[in-house]
């Protein structure tokens, strides 16, 4: 049979098309999540596990932020052995909210 890297419950994802502007904006209006999105944008897809990000919060809070990012259609996750790796949903999100992601990525780190 095919590969089967995990027996865990797959994370719930929301497609950007099913996300309201308000939800998208709220998801991006947080300094920690902005950091996550930026770091993710500068990395290869599926190369970053949740714990590999340089943000000043504990893992419980971090886990919560990924829930929000998934719920806004910004991030896709996949279980790979013991860790959960991430991908920024650039194209899909861009199609739903043209220009929005670029605004966040281009801007200088939060002052």
């Amino acid at each position: 049979m095919a590969q089967r890297t995990s027996h865990r419950a797959a994370p719930e994802h929301t497609h950007p098309d099913d996300v309201s502007v308000q939800t998208a904006l709220a998801a991006l209006a947080d300094p920690v999540r902005i950091s996550l999105v930026r770091e993710l944008a500068g990395s290869q897809e599926w190369s970053r596990s949740c714990g590999s990000f340089d943000v000043p919060v504990g893992k419980a809070a971090l886990s919560h932020h990924f829930v929000v990012l998934r719920g806004a259609g910004l991030v896709e996750q996949r279980d790979e052995g013991p860790r959960r790796v991430n991908r920024l949903r650039r194209a899909e999100f861009e199609a739903r909210f043209p220009g929005l992601l670029d605004l966040v990525l281009r801007d200088e780190p939060t002052v």
Copy 2:
């Protein structure tokens, strides 16, 4: 001397150029403020007084929302007799955050 419609303290304004993305997103991530911006976008400049908007909050809360909108560089206000009239800073905001305002204006009313 020239006209002088008010002796009141002029409202404080922030230019979009001095606004961070995070602040801009936070300002637009609220249902009441989204309504205000949309209504404002559909009206002539300087035609709407603060109290003329159809939002389900008292006037104290409303006043607060306008403070936030001014602080994000989204709205400009001017005193005109007893009332304070508004203008959406379309061009300036668009120059600072290309596409952002359009996203909010195009989208269906918050579900």
